[in-house]
Amino acid sequence: GAGVSQSPSNKVTEKGKDVELRCDPISGHTALYWYRQSLGQGLEFLIYFQGNSAPDKSGLPSDRFSAERTGGSVSTLTIQRTQQEDSAVYLCASSPFQIGETQYFGPGTRLLVL
């Protein structure tokens, strides 16, 4: 059984460019989460999906950040007009329907904005 996968593993971009980060959750997991981990910081919650709906987008830091999920599976986190402070590791996790339980994390995407 495959775990959560994320792509790309690393992304270097120039300030002002848009980036898309992809997450493939564990098959059958209805809940999906995005977190951000900046250097020296803990994990910061960004957004939560249940199926294709995002009941909680409260953690998205600005309107440059958006996310969608299609087919109850793959999710894409898009950052528009990237800024240097967006540099971080972006982690995706999924869990079965019973939320509040164990979350299974992907390896993350390390984003560097020059």
Partner: protein
């Protein structure tokens, strides 16, 4: 401030010794989880303890939870060099429909010297 706060921030021990990490939190919880992170990448779930449990074991791991003090500890016995990693506690809040939102502390960096 972070819901979960681990201490110490860093811990260095010799192989074979025991390692103890502590976590404090502020609000009522449904459960508390411990995760491990190697080299700043994906998190691996270690153990989950529910608010009505006081102690839980998994292999060389022992977790305690004291809800009256809002604190938890993670004990790793007979440590190995491969245990070198960052360890995070995460709390799932009680009720309110937001128990999916795990709140992570900043972690304890454990170094096990061969």
């Amino acid at each position: 401030s972070q819901q979960g706060e681990e201490d110490p921030q860093a811990l260095s021990i010799q192989e074979g010794e025991n390692a103890t990490m502590n976590c404090s939190y502020k609000t009522s919880i449904n459960n508390l989880q411990w995760y491990r992170q190697n080299s700043g990448r994906g998190l691996v779930h270690l153990i989950l303890i529910r608010s009505n449990e006081r102690e839980k074991h998994s292999g060389r791991l022992r977790v305690t939870l004291d809800t009256s003090k809002k604190s938890s500890s993670l004990l790793i016995t007979a440590s190995r060099a491969a245990d070198t990693a960052s360890y995070f506690c995460a709390t799932a809040p009680k009720g309110g429909g937001s128990n999916y939102k795990l709140t992570f502390g900043k972690g304890t960096l454990l170094t096990v010297n061969p």
